[in-house]
Amino acid sequence: MFRRILLLGLIPVAAVAFLVMEVPMASGKVVTLFSEINGTLVNGSGSPQSGIRIERWWRYGTEGDGESDMATTGQDGSFFFPAITQDSTWAGILPGTPSIKQRITAHGPNGDVKLWFAVKNSFDANSETGGAPANVICRIDQEPNADGPVFGTCRLAD
């Protein structure tokens, strides 16, 4: 009986899928799991912090250990992470909410600093920053807080 009920329950979902499959984007879509980050690491007086290892970590869904990559700040304190994207068959078709956990950590001389800590619930690029490009200035000597686009020490550059 359960199986029968389950089968019947699939009808409206299939209907929804078929309905939206008529939309051209149903052939596949590139989704953004972590948007491109153009950052500058500074201290409280605004001095750039060079040679600092910056680690980016993300996990799509709730299973597994996630993935990470690294960057090192240049002489001007700059660091860059490219966008993490993926092809998706069902994005834009199935009406669920994606969940990507994100963290950027600076491995500074005085310990680790949480620059960026967020959950991305959209496949859109730059959804973390309300649609604006993620050009950010991050502090290495500040307690992380919620004053920026996400929890951490990063703020959108003017």
């Binding site: 299939a14 209907a15 078929f18 309905l19 939206v20 499959m21 939309v23 009406p95 800590f117 967020a118």
Partner: protein, 381 residues
């Protein structure tokens, strides 16, 4: 002191922020992850509330918030996570079980709510006014939660965004009466989720206004279900419930059986036209609405859902010539849509109707299962 309902921006942001809880290890981490998403003055309390969406799936689903220093609390519940097959199976399980007010509710929503109700009750213990928010699946769970807490003596306010239909009429009629004037249902015309499951499931409030955003949309899209693109944007733009309210122009969905049968018939002449399935579903729903079959009688019958539908359709055939012609037309169109050439006379038996319904269900289930399997094979996205 008079209670002020949550504003659209407040309730939509509470419904959105709880999604961060899925990834949080504890309440402290949730506080950080949700800090930029919660409305000002709202803070999490207690702990993360988990729910079961299957035998092997337990995950964070809800959070209780303090509403500033008002002494009021907010229960906010998340919706379907994109990569979670178990979350999807919760949506699919449309049998019925007794809900928190004893009236039947959608089984998937009911099982999931039952798995977290004790922690929610504990989280709002001693609080008079409780606001309950949710988006998508979370909106359906919020509806059950509001019914539960109201029955336990709390004064509840309910806010749902893009929620599916949670239960048949008896549950929603009771809830609509108990929470009269305190239910804020927001849906987007282009959002497919509030359109499912089909009859006999209905929305609350059963009578009165809902809040329709995107009233002029001409297409249905998963994007119109998204909190950020649709609901938060609309709530922020409106600011107040009065501004949010629009005339509930639902004329497209109020077409009768003849209209939907015509659309389904057109679809069968276009190979692969997916909207034929939708039109067939709407046609069944419209037929039920016209004949006004007692949902309570259906629910009380010791039959499976397919048997219930077959019985109801067979009764429709017996009721009148016009209704009978609609049912027969639906059967012919459905069979044609499934590629089955069959001669259908002027009347049909319940067992034949059940056969057609099962074929219909299997065809759709196969397609949906293929979609799910592909989703699982890809692992992610």
């Amino acid at each position: 002191m008079a209670v002020t309902p949550l504003t659209p921006p407040e309730s939509s942001r509470c419904a959105d922020a709880v999604y961060a809880g899925l990834q949080a290890d504890d309440l402290g981490e949730f506080s950080e992850l949700a800090a930029t998403r919660l409305p000002p003055g709202f803070s999490p309390t207690g702990g993360l509330i988990q729910a079961n969406t299957g035998p092997s799936r337990t995950s964070n689903f809800a959070v209780v918030l303090n509403r500033g220093s008002t002494g009021e609390k907010v229960v906010t519940i998340r919706g379907t996570e994109f990569t979670s097959k178990q979350d999807w199976l919760t949506n699919f399980n449309i049998g019925m079980i007794p809900g928190p007010t004893a009236f039947p509710v959608h089984a998937g929503f009911g099982f999931t709510y039952n798995s977290m109700k004790d922690k929610i009750r504990s989280g709002v213990n001693g609080t008079n006014v409780v606001h309950v928010c949710g988006h998508s699946l979370g909106g359906a769970l919020a509806t059950l939660c509001a019914a539960d807490l109201q029955a336990r003596g709390h004064t509840c306010y309910l806010y749902t965004y893009g929620a599916p239909r949670p239960a048949p009429t008896p549950f929603t009629a009771h809830l609509s009466y108990k929470l009269r004037g305190r239910i804020y249902r927001v849906h987007d015309r282009g959002d497919p989720v509030p359109m499912i499951p089909l009859f006999p499931f209905v929305h609350a409030p059963l009578f009165g206004s809902s809040y329709l955003v995107g009233p002029n949309r001409s297409s249905i899209s998963a994007d119109h279900h998204a909190m950020d693109k649709s609901y938060i944007a609309s709530a922020d733009k409106a600011g107040t419930w009065n501004a949010m309210r629009t005339a509930f122009d639902d004329s497209r969905l109020q077409f009768g059986p003849a209209y939907w049968l015509e659309k389904a018939g057109e679809a069968t002449r276009i190979p692969g036209a997916g909207w034929g399935l939708w039109a067939l579903g709407k046609a069944i729903e419209a037929i039920f609405k016209v004949i006004g079959i007692g949902v309570q009688a259906l629910v009380g019958a010791p039959m499976t859902v397919l048997d219930m539908l077959a019985w109801a359709l067979q009764r429709a055939v017996q009721i009148g010539s016009e209704i009978s012609s609609w049912v027969m037309s639906w059967v012919r169109t459905a069979m044609r849509w499934m590629g089955r050439a069959v001669e259908v006379g002027e009347t049909v038996t319940q067992s034949f109707l059940r056969y057609v319904l099962e074929l219909f269900a299997r065809a759709m289930a196969t397609a949906a299962r293929a979609a799910l399997d592909a989703l699982e094979r890809r692992g992610r996205a």
